[in-house]
């Protein structure tokens, strides 16, 4: 049907339009009547409601999850504390009260005004936190001025209490009020201004798990701030406690070993990637952040040239120096180049016109003594034979220039140069001479202490690379864990192929490093009876030429490294020590040795601990017994008066008779004839055999497991130190 057919000039019936008009009039009148009812008849009532309309949302703060070490010893605690909030009234000018509030609560007036300004956009009933950790006299001030300052509200909550002296501060991180920049990011979408969030370390990475969920009470208050009605409650969900992988004993040893030297120490279990200790210096006090940090303190922290907020264990990217020779040895041996190399070290090597120095004139050097001597000449030539790209291939596979994927924020990737990297970033070709610098861990190559720990640990563990972590993943909610681990960068767990001969050669060489010996670089770090295999490193911060021109000072001294594993086969502990501007590489080796000593001593103490192990044996124990019974045929001449019997019983953990493992009768006994003529064998019943059984049960069920295991352990652990300690992980 086309539109043209429609008759023009046709009109709608006027009656129907009039109906519509009247309907609209009726509607408008009905709406006006509704307005009349509310605004004229109900005005007084509604005006009063509007006056009293003070629905307050009183927050119930969720306690944050505590942090424990691997043996469930408390590391980070909470303490009860009172906070003061300001609730804006819709018909009051709060601004007039501010000077009085600032005076009573010892606040800076400008800062208070700035806080209020930050909340100008949030709804009127949302309380603004203005003072945390309210003291007793401030609380008294609030109570005394209830009538003049009804907008003040106090709330009890819990605050963070961190260990003193910056203990593990970089690993733990700190908490603070969420910043306005943070709120604009998607990961903070669920946060509101004033929320406390974790910043740095575990506090930041696991904030979602630790923070729990704040609850609130919705109450109606009168114009004096007194509660007159209660609308509902939303309970707070406390945050989850977390167990860290660090060992307080080892952490303490590491903290004390590094002292006030700038640098970092990382200790890890190379079998599973658990970080046992992590120290960075200089340190800071996270407690300063728990309550609002003073601006002066903050400026001092961020302008300090030593970067106290930086976690050097994962963020310092420095030349690894001679510790890189371990990777060079792997590459050389795997490529089949290093085995046959015999080098005469005459104090350096310089085939490309520039002479590269070695520390000593080592004479004849091969792969076996190149590591303990740390002979640069040997590695110059090895690097030259391999070429930069083969070195880079191995280095990248083992994790140089790659994040380890540790569960801490802000990890740095370091750098592993290659021909492509140089072309891409500096648009020039690689000179073979530059390979020589890289071969001894200088030049552009840079690594973090954590990277070294993972790489050295992996090489010593037959190429089994692990993802380092500070919180055991099994305690995390499944969804959070999946989300976290999918988003962490890095290569995670991997098995890299290394010939057993090759890693044994390398770890044997590393073991010789800490043995006393001529040219051995860390003989002074030798620990009697401990199989510590390590490698030192000295990384120049300036070239020799530049060094000649400047005034020598602390900042021109080389950074020194030590990496080590214990024991050399199937290591249980790997450590990396970095001392910035520490000058001599046997210094960090000694620091490392202290941590290793603390570790081994703890393991030995635990193993030699004679406290009974309480493990009831759940399986029935098989018990043998011999006893006599009256001979029923005693009257017959020639027969003995009693018969000797032997039997086998199964005894349960509680000492009672239990069924046999295969469901056989509990008692199976055999009559052993002492006499010449054997009578028929009567099968003994359980009740008859109980007296002897009880005795044997007593003996067997209390002692066995223990004594055996005890003696077995003692046997396996000779008192002589010198063998690698066999350790059971905690």
């Amino acid at each position: 049907m086309s539109f043209d057919k429609v008759t023009r000039g046709e009109k709608l019936p006027a009656l129907k339009l009039a109906v519509v008009q009247y309907a609209i009039l009726a509607l408008i009148l009905a709406l006006s009547a509704g307005l009349w009812r509310l605004q004229i008849l109900g005005a007084q009532n509604f005006r009063m409601l509007a006056e009293q309309n003070r629905i307050r949302k009183v927050p119930i703060l969720a306690p944050r999850g505590k942090l424990f070490d691997r043996e469930n010893r408390l590391v980070v605690d909470n303490y009860p504390s009172v906070s003061c909030f300001l609730v804006r009234e819709q018909n009051r000018k709060v601004d007039e009260d501010l000077p009085m509030i600032a005076h009573g609560l010892h606040l800076n007036l400008d800062q208070l005004k700035a806080t209020l300004h930050k909340y100008r956009l949030s709804p009127g009933y949302q309380p603004i936190p203005i003072k945390e950790d309210v003291t007793a006299d401030e609380q008294a001030f609030i109570e005394a001025h209830r009538n003049e300052l009804p907008e003040l509200e106090t709330i009890e909550g819990e605050r963070r209490l961190y260990p003193r002296d910056g203990y593990a501060s970089h690993l733990i991180g700190y908490v603070g009020e969420v910043s306005e920049e943070d709120l604009n990011q998607t990961r903070y979408a669920a946060y509101e201004p004033g929320d406390v969030v974790g910043k740095g370390g575990v506090e930041e990475m696991y904030d979602q798990v630790l923070r729990g969920q704040d609850g609130s009470r919705d109450v109606i208050v009168d114009s004096h701030g007194r509660e007159v009605g209660f609308l509902g409650i939303q309970h707070a969900v406390p945050g989850q406690d977390l167990k860290l992988t660090i060992d307080n004993d080892l952490q303490k040893a590491a903290e004390l070993a590094l002292g006030d030297r700038n640098g970092a120490i990382v200790a890890m279990d190379p079998r599973n990637g658990e970080i046992l200790a992590m120290v960075s210096r200089p340190s800071f006090d996270p407690n300063l952040f728990a309550v609002k940090i003073d601006r002066g303190e903050w400026n001092k922290l961020i302008t300090d040239p030593d970067h106290p907020l930086m976690n050097k264990a994962i963020q310092a990217q420095l030349a690894p120096g001679s510790t890189f020779k371990i990777l060079m040895s792997v590459a050389g041996l795997q490529e089949g180049v290093a085995q046959s190399m015999h080098v005469n070290c005459a104090g350096g090597w310089g085939p490309y016109g520039y002479f590269h120095h070695c520390d000593e004139k080592h004479g004849a050097v091969d792969i076996h003594n190149a590591i303990p001597f740390s002979c640069d000449t040997f590695y110059y030539q090895l690097g030259d034979k391999l070429g930069i790209d083969r070195i880079a291939k191995y280095a990248t596979a083992f994790g140089y220039g790659q994040k380890t994927g540790i569960d801490l924020p802000g990890e740095q990737a370091g750098l592993m140069p290659s021909q492509r990297w140089l072309m891409k970033n500096y648009h020039r070709r690689w000179y073979p001479d530059e390979t020589l610098d890289v071969s001894i861990g200088q030049g552009a190559v840079a690594a973090t202490p954590l990277q070294l720990v993972r790489i050295i640990g992996g090489i010593a563990s037959e190429g089994r690379m692990v993802r380092p972590h500070v919180v055991a993943p099994d305690q995390l909610p499944a969804e959070f864990r999946k989300d976290l681990y999918e988003n962490l960068p890095g290569t995670a767990d991997a098995q890299l192929p290394i010939d057993p001969d090759n890693w044994q050669t390398i770890t044997d060489g590393m073991a010789a490093v800490t043995q006393p010996g001529y040219f051995h670089t860390a003989g002074s770090a030798h620990l009697e009876g401990i199989d510590l295999a390590g490698k030192t490193g000295t990384a120049q911060v300036m070239s020799h030429e530049a060094l000649g021109k400047t005034n020598k000072g602390h900042h021109t001294l080389p950074n020194v490294w030590f990496v080590g594993v214990v024991p050399r086969r199937n290591p249980e502990l790997v450590i990396a020590v970095l001392w910035e501007h520490g000058e001599f590489s046997y210094y960090p080796a000694r620091l490392g040795a202290r941590i290793v000593a603390a570790y081994v001593e703890k393991q030995r103490r635990l193993q030699n601990n004679l406290m009974p192990v309480k493990t009831p044996n759940p399986k029935p124990v098989e018990v043998g017994a011999v006893w006599t019974t009256p001979n029923p045929a005693a009257s017959t001449p020639g027969e003995p008066e009693t018969k000797v019997q032997a039997g086998k019983f199964y005894v349960g953990a509680n000492g009672a008779l239990a069924g046999g493992p295969s469901g056989k009768p509990a008692v199976a006994s055999k009559t052993v004839s002492v006499a010449a003529s054997a009578p028929k064998n009567p099968v003994q019943s359980g009740s008859k055999s109980s007296p002897p059984l009880a005795i044997s049960t007593q003996i067997k069920s209390n002692k066995p497991g223990q004594q055996e295991s005890q003696s077995a352990r003692l046997g396996a652990q000779p008192a002589l130190p010198g063998k690698p300690t066999q350790v059971k992980s905690q």
């Binding site: 049907m1 539109f3 057919k5 429609v6 008759t7 023009r8 000039g9 046709e10 009109k11 709608l12 006027a14 129907k16 339009l17 109906v19 519509v20 008009q21 609209i24 009039l25 509607l27 408008i28 009905a30 709406l31 006006s32 509704g34 307005l35 009349w36 009812r37 509310l38 605004q39 004229i40 109900g42 005005a43 009532n45 509604f46 005006r47 409601l49 509007a50 006056e51 309309n53 629905i55 819709q90 018909n91 100008r120 956009l121 709804p123 009127g124 009933y125 919705d218 609308l231 509902g232």
Partner: protein
């Protein structure tokens, strides 16, 4: 059709109607300024001015295009928007926000909401349909086709879910049928069926999402749940009531300024306005609406032909419905549905729709003497 461009000038433009609309727009901008003063929407009144200016230009442009051409094209446009409404529901294409899939992303052009545009298309399509039938007695088959014409897009929009916009289409059909010649018997049967459907749909629970149900129950008894769905209704009522006869004055409404009224510049602007300007102000605005609607109906009466009248009456139906539902919501007669108050609420799409609709009205009025 060639003789149609005989004589047309802006003298025939409905300046009275335009004056009434402009008056309402001034009230709207002032109240948006006052209501957003202490919120994060501060400054939205200038944006509203831009929208009104843009809408006015669009209105003048649309008034130049002969509405018969619009009606000729309407089947194609209807088909296009029906297709767009289906596209919106496909997860990869439809953009989801606030729990509903209502938009298609058009790159730099922003978001495109087919259901808003469909409103105007629907008015034209329904007018075309019933005009073609000659506005005489309708058969059941013809009524059924009318239901399909409106019902299919309604169901698609309900699926988004967007109850408010979907319900806006209903009055277009109702007025179309009423003016298109439905008889009393048919009407009674349809009303009875409608009641059965609503009651059945409510109890089966499939038709409405839980939040939609909560809004409806919250409306019936707001004191039960003052912090939840009923909270908005209760606070709006308190605001209106506290306004009294003369109101508390601009920028002085405690409910408005204290952020107790939700979105005081958009859906609940009438609550904010009523608090600050009282019964007198509120009735003044209702009077403006009444005059605008009466003026529209007068234009429908004087229109040159049946389609012109039906289009204007469709527009009257949509505007009346929006006013009734929005003001009814604010004063506690109706549940919260998210339907804006035309020409008062802040929002580009609402302003644009109203001005485009007015453009069509002007269009029809300017051609009233053509034959």
């Amino acid at each position: 059709m060639s003789q149609m461009r005989r004589f047309m000038s802006f003298r025939d433009f409905d300046w009275t109607l335009f004056g009434l609309v402009a008056g309402l727009c001034v009230v709207s901008v002032l109240e948006i300024y006052s209501a957003t003063l202490h919120t994060k929407y501060v400054g939205f009144h200038t944006r509203q001015i831009y929208w009104i200016a843009g809408g006015t230009i669009a209105m003048f442009i649309l008034s130049r295009i002969d509405y018969h051409k619009l009606i000729d094209f309407v089947p194609w446009v209807y088909g296009f928007f029906l297709f767009a409404l289906m596209l919106v529901l496909i997860p990869g294409i439809g953009h989801k926000a606030l729990g509903a899939r209502r938009w298609i992303k058009l790159g730099p052009l922003g978001l495109f909401q087919p259901s808003e545009w469909m409103k105007l298309v629907m008015i034209l399509a329904v007018a075309r349909y019933f005009a073609n039938l000659g506005a005489r007695n309708l058969t059941w088959k013809e009524i059924g086709k009318g239901f399909a014409l409106v019902g299919v897009p309604m169901l698609l929009i309900l699926k988004q879910p967007d109850l408010g916009t979907s319900l806006t289409y209903m009055p277009v059909l109702i007025i179309g049928m009423f003016l298109g010649g439905i008889n009393l018997k048919q009407a009674s049967i349809l009303i009875a069926a409608g009641i059965v459907l609503v009651v059945g749909g409510w109890s089966s629970g499939k038709l409405l999402k839980p939040y939609q149900k909560a809004r409806l129950t919250g409306f019936i008894n707001p004191d039960n749940d003052p912090r939840g769905a009923g909270y908005q209704v209760l606070q709006a009522k308190i605001a209106v009531g506290a306004g009294g006869i003369w109101g508390k004055g601009a920028e002085k409404g405690t409910q408005t300024q204290g952020a107790f009224i939700p979105i005081p510049h958009a859906d609940f602007i009438f609550a904010a306005y009523s608090e600050e300007h009282g019964f007198v102000g509120a009735v003044f605005v209702l009077l403006l609406y009444f005059l605008i609607l009466m003026r529209l109906i007068q234009n429908a009466q004087t229109a040159a032909d049946l389609p012109g009248s039906l289009i204007i009456m469709g527009i009257v139906a949509v505007l009346t419905f929006q006013i009734a539902v929005n003001v009814g919501m604010v004063i506690g007669f109706m549940p919260v549905t998210g339907i804006p108050l035309p020409l008062m609420s802040y929002g580009g799409s609402s302003v644009l729709f109203t001005f485009l609709a007015l453009g069509v009205v002007m269009n029809i009025r300017m051609r009233r003497f053509v034959n």
